[in-house]
Amino acid sequence: MKAQLGTPPPSRKRSRTLFVLANTALVSCVVAPFIGPTPIRWDAVFDSTQPFRENIDAQIFFIARLPRALAGALVGGALASAGVVLQALLRNPLATPFTLGVSSGASLGALLVIVLGTPISLRVLPVVPLASFIGALSAVGIVYGLSRYRRRGLSTTVLLLAGVTLNSLFSAIIMFVQYLADPNQTFQAVRYLMGNLNVSGYSPILWSLPLLIVASCAFAWLPRSLNLLSVGTESAATRGVDVTKTQRIAFLSASLATGAAVSLGGPIGFVGIVVPHMVRLMVGADHRAVLPASAFMGAAFLVICDVAARTLMAPQELPVGVITAMLGGPFFLWLLVRKV
């Protein structure tokens, strides 16, 4: 056992796992668009002799299904890695990207736009995603402000409690608004709140991309500090971590990623907790492996779940949030039992 330590095979095993997961994500993005209620053919999609306007197969592939698969990959990757970061920050493996009130803030924002309507001059913008992003950031702002009140660093207890409380407060407001809204709007809003990846075209993806890139840069910088932070703030500080700065960057980047994900796909639950846990079983606890592996696996997981959502009851389409919740709920309970 000791002989292994000089050249640690865990790291080689880790890079292999990372490689496999990255390829799984890639392959699922390419294969997913071929699966669906309308069968399309590989050779027809890439048939360059046929003009794109007449090539139905290529249109389905490039306009309807590929953006959806890409959105799934981005949302899944963002939610899973945001989950990892927040779990380390809160020192609680059962935290999710939605623990801190982000999803309810996003939902409230989207709902308000759906119910109150939008002035015609603003319709060029992706209004619902934008509103949900603003809602997410407002929730984050409130939670962050509270946790810093009268303290130098972040209080993770306040962070957690404020997030949970804000979630229920916003849910109450959501129900109130739904109660007053007309049934058609309520139906639209409920559909949104279930979470689905029904994007058509690439513009919503392009909108969210800058946010995700900023978050990814922060994620690349964080992992070793996250390891120490997950052990405890004081021991992290004595090991040389600038705790306040790291907490801030972790919290803000995770919120940014979650906000972008929610604006793209609605509040899709359980990805941010199921995926990091499965990844930890594979690569251990080191965040330098867990974070990228979770991003890849989250991407693959959500793309595959979305294929299931589109095909299980075809031509009816299920919201992908229902699928992830049905898989994730029992998994979460199993985790709780296993922990005790």
Binding site: M1, K2, Q4, L5, G6, T7, P8, A88, R91, N92, P93, A220, W221, R224, S225, N227, L228, S230, V231, G232, E234, S235, A237, T238, R239, G240, V241, D242, V243, R280, G284, A285, D286, R288
Partner: protein, 276 residues
């Protein structure tokens, strides 16, 4: 050299430290003694730069701790907290390697040098056979020794000679340990003191543990220094009775020249069931 001068600190409005002054020179083994709530842990946190004093200053070498980055403090000063519980499944080697953090660039990872430093620290603390185990599965004593190993990994440096000065703070190291683990820890700390430039600062309310390792005592009572000095001058029955407000006797065992603290308040029952 770590020097704290005229430290005042309060949590909110409750004063915890009042005018505390302490100098730790290389090679010293300082024990901070005092009853629960005397401010021992707070003092350690101030010394580690985790808390900024309301008044007074803490200097590491010649620089005020306030003006040093966490990473440069961490290269010279490490702390072993009272208890460490981790929610994630890090291996023992991973926990030890966390000590290398201040020595590595932002995106760098540990090289073979770092790994061999961590392994020799694990060997020193007699935990190298556990290196692949999950930290969470260890006993309290083993966890404590692994955290000490992590702190030693932090203070080690492959480039700089071993006589570089470093400071190790231990907060109530025996608080949750059984007797066997206490003895092992004591033996470990005695090995560490052989490095001439390593300063140990240990907060404890365990008199015998302090006697076993320290050469200098600071008696802390209600946030102020009641007495401080070399152990033979400070460790008196009168001082201890004042400090702990309990019936304690400091006995100089004849022949062995060892000092032991007896808690004389309770008499041990004789074999016939009556108290002697």
């Amino acid at each position: 050299m770590l020097r704290a001068s005229n430290i005042f600190f309060s949590y909110g409005t409750i004063p915890t430290l009042r005018d505390v002054t302490l100098t730790a020179s290389p090679g010293q083994r300082i024990g901070i003694l005092g009853p629960n709530g005397a401010g021992k842990t707070t003092l350690l946190r101030v010394l580690a730069g985790l808390l900024t004093p309301n008044q007074g200053r803490v200097e590491l070498g010649t620089t005020d701790l306030k003006n040093l980055k966490r990473a440069s403090i961490a290269k010279q000063l490490a702390m072993v907290p009272q208890e460490t519980s981790i929610e994630f499944n890090y291996s023992v080697l991973e926990v030890a390697l966390m000590g290398r953090h201040p020595h590595l660039g932002a995106l760098a990872s540990e090289g073979p040098d770092d790994i061999s430093l961590a392994i020799s620290a694990l060997k020193l603390t007699a935990t190298d056979h556990l290196s692949d185990r999950s930290f969470n599965t260890l006993s309290g004593g083993e966890k404590q020794r692994v955290i000490v190993a992590s702190a030693l990994t932090q203070l080690a440096s492959p480039a700089v000679p071993a006589n570089r000065s470093s400071i190790l703070l231990l907060d109530e190291p025996t608080a949750s340990l059984d007797l066997n683990s206490q003895v092992k820890l004591l033996a470990l700390l005695r090995t560490l003191q052989r490095q001439p430039n390593r300063t140990l600062i240990i907060s404890t309310h365990d008199l015998n543990f302090a006697i076993g390792i320290c050469d200098y005592l600071v008696l802390l009572l209600k946030g102020t220094v009641m007495a401080s000095g070399p152990i033979h001058s400070v460790l008196t029955t009168a001082n201890m009775r004042n400090l702990y407000d309990a019936d304690i006797e400091i006995v100089n065992q004849q022949g062995t020249k060892r000092i032991i603290a007896l808690l004389t308040d309770r008499k041990i029952p004789h074999s016939n069931g009556q108290e002697r």
